[in-house]
């Protein structure tokens, strides 16, 4: 396995590369308002493109980051490991998501991050992002809002894992996944592939893989998801929302209005 991105030093950083950061800007605009000039500054950030295979290490606990990776395509997750090797996935990152805003303000990375699928990353040097945030308060605010919303999702996950039963727990996670995907890709189809194995769902939900399998079967019988071979697709978001008693308030989608 190659070195985590958080150990990387950047030498030749190119300038803006026609529209690659569009999805990142769209993600931020879904969370707060930004002026045209702010948007231009964000799109002009220097970055280096990096494609990584599934399971590649992106952030490593204890490292001090020099770049902020932005997920242009693919999926990644934050995780922590207990002494006995038990792994808890604490956050799922989808296309458009910045992966390490917190290293702008904190010295040391406090968790691991891995690619869930093959990913394309834009690696933005932290000093460039820092200068932009210092020069433009509204961009600093957009960064803060992103950190706050991820924290809000984290609180919802705590409730999910700590207090919800397996069925609403899994349904809630899937419902959140669809809401986030629909927002970033601006489409309204209920059918979205969930690129996550049952073992990984178990690590997200704090359930055993067998329990995840049984619960998926129940949700499939309710018509809310469909499995095709080993692939999982959401099918009926309203049904998922009902099973999970889902309210999207914690995603703060009204914040961009």
């Amino acid at each position: 396995m190659s070195e985590p991105i958080s150990r990387m030093t950047m030498h030749n950083v190119g300038g803006a590369d026609g529209g690659r950061l569009d999805i990142f800007l769209r993600k931020l605009l879904g969370q707060c308002r930004l002026s045209t000039i702010d948007q231009q500054h964000l799109l002009a950030l220097p970055f280096q493109l990096r494609d990584l295979p599934a399971q590649a290490s992106i952030l490593h606990e204890g490292d001090s980051a020099r770049v902020c990776p932005i997920l242009l395509s693919g999926f990644a997750y934050r995780y922590k490991i207990a002494a006995d090797g038990g792994r808890q996935i604490v956050s799922l990152r989808i296309p458009g998501d910045p992966l390490d805003f917190q290293s702008l303000y904190l010295q040391t990375i406090d968790h691991h991050m891995q690619a869930l699928t093959p990913v394309s990353l834009a690696l933005v040097p932290l000093p460039a992002l820092e200068q932009l945030a210092e020069a433009r308060p509204s961009i600093a605010r957009a960064i803060l809002v992103d950190i706050l919303i991820e924290a809000s999702i984290g609180r919802e996950w705590q409730l999910n894992i700590g207090r919800r039963h397996a069925l609403p727990r899994l349904a809630h996670f899937l419902c959140e996944f669809v809401y986030r995907m629909q927002l970033i890709f601006a489409h309204s189809s209920d059918e979205i592939e969930v690129p996550i194995t049952q073992e990984q769902l178990a690590d997200i939900l704090g359930l055993t893989p067998v329990h995840v399998n049984r619960t998926l079967k129940t949700i499939e019988q309710a018509g809310a998801v469909v499995r095709k071979g080993r692939r999982l697709y959401t099918r009926d978001v309203a049904a998922l929302a009902q099973l999970a008693d889902f309210t999207p308030l914690y995603l703060h989608r009204d914040n961009a209005n």
């Binding site: 039963h165 055993t208 399998n213 049984r214």
Partner: protein, 83 residues
């Protein structure tokens, strides 16, 4: 790693058709106990039915490995019907 299947019955039967890869029968046994535990955690009434809960581990060849059985025994058997 070999694959193990975890079938449950609690009045009705739930056949596991996907299974999980685990190191050995001892790991499968632990997984069965943990799985039974999480089913109980979710729904204690799962063993209110007359048959209790049974988690059965079967290997890839269909050979029986372990069964975990959970039953509740009430002191006064007639009470529930009398309510």
């Amino acid at each position: 790693m070999p694959r193990y299947f975890f079938h449950t019955s609690d009045g009705s039967c739930d056949r596991d058709d996907v299974g999980v890869e685990l190191a050995d029968p001892a790991a499968a046994r632990r997984e069965a106990i943990r799985y039974g535990g999480s089913l109980l955690h979710d729904n204690p009434d799962i063993i209110a039915a007359t048959n209790g809960l049974r988690v059965e581990v079967v290997d890839e060849q269909g050979q029986f490995c372990t069964a975990v059985l959970i039953h509740a025994v009430d002191a006064e058997r007639g009470t529930r019907d009398a309510d």
